[in-house]
């Protein structure tokens, strides 16, 4: 088994690239791989708690909580989150907050890296 690091900038609801990211992370961890997930840019919005799942919209909170439960390390860019009005007390518990060097450090020890930039 190996380590996969995924970096995603795509927004919650606004882009299915984030949904793809979460599904891929789940598929990888279910196969026994270690997964690190870095959320930056618009993707940081998925780190905000109390999302309401409406049928017209993608949701990220439940998949995120499931990934955390499975041991996926999820970190979001503190600057990107704060710029979007997301404060730490509002964040989904278990998501780390750090700066971009966290992602590079995970890349250092990863076997595979998939960077999913924004739109």
């Amino acid at each position: 088994m190996g380590t996969l690091s995924i970096g995603c900038f795509s927004s919650l609801v606004g882009s299915k690239s984030l949904d793809f990211t979460l599904k891929l992370a789940k598929a990888a961890v279910d196969k026994g791989h270690k997964v690190n997930l870095w959320l930056s840019g618009n993707a940081t919005v998925v780190g905000k708690a109390h999302q309401k799942h409406l049928k017209d919209y993608s949701t990220g909170e439940k998949p995120i909580l499931e990934l955390l439960e499975k041991g996926v390390e999820i970190c979001e860019c503190e600057a990107c989150a704060l710029a979007r009005g997301i404060q730490k007390p509002d964040a989904i518990p278990g998501i780390q907050w750090n700066a971009m060097h966290w992602y590079l450090a995970k890349i250092y020890s990863s076997d595979r890296v998939l960077h999913i930039g924004g739109e």
């Binding site: 840019g41 060097h101 992602y103 595979r112």
Partner: protein
């Protein structure tokens, strides 16, 4: 394992999407990644500007004046000041008719590094010699 090389391939144009800006800032963050690694370990990015990504390098950007944000030009200058290699696809400059004197440089900030205008084949070599690719 000492250093891990990564290629940050910037192909998206500037400002409408924040992607290319994040390409620069992620590469620059390599300056502090050592604090999260063991002694002697590092991540070494090379920025590769291709396709519409070369538009990020135009000089005289007025982003701060018009949008109140740090210009990508400023990030590019900081990257050069940090001694990051920024390769620019020569063929794409020709395709889009952009003269080299329209591009940013960081000489005024005392940077030793300059943009490196290279054939795409050199960028391909960087991708081949890097452990991982990050497409922005």
């Amino acid at each position: 394992m000492a250093d891990v090389k990564i290629a940050c391939v910037v192909q998206r144009p500037p400002y409408k999407s924040e992607t290319s800006t994040l390409g620069f800032t992620h590469a620059i963050s390599s300056q502090v990644v050592e604090m999260l690694l063991e002694d002697g370990q590092n991540v070494i990015p090379t920025m590769c500007m291709v396709g519409e990504g070369i538009f990020n390098l135009l000089n005289n950007q007025k982003a701060m004046e018009n949008y109140g944000v740090t210009s990508i030009e400023s990030h590019g200058k900081n990257a050069l000041l940090c001694d990051l290699d920024i390769l620019v696809c020569k063929e794409d400059l020709v395709t889009f008719g952009i003269a080299e004197d329209r591009l940013l440089d960081a000489e005024d900030m005392g940077a030793d590094k300059k943009l490196q205008i290279v054939p795409y084949s050199e960028i391909q070599k960087v991708m081949e010699s890097s452990a991982h690719l990050l497409f922005f």
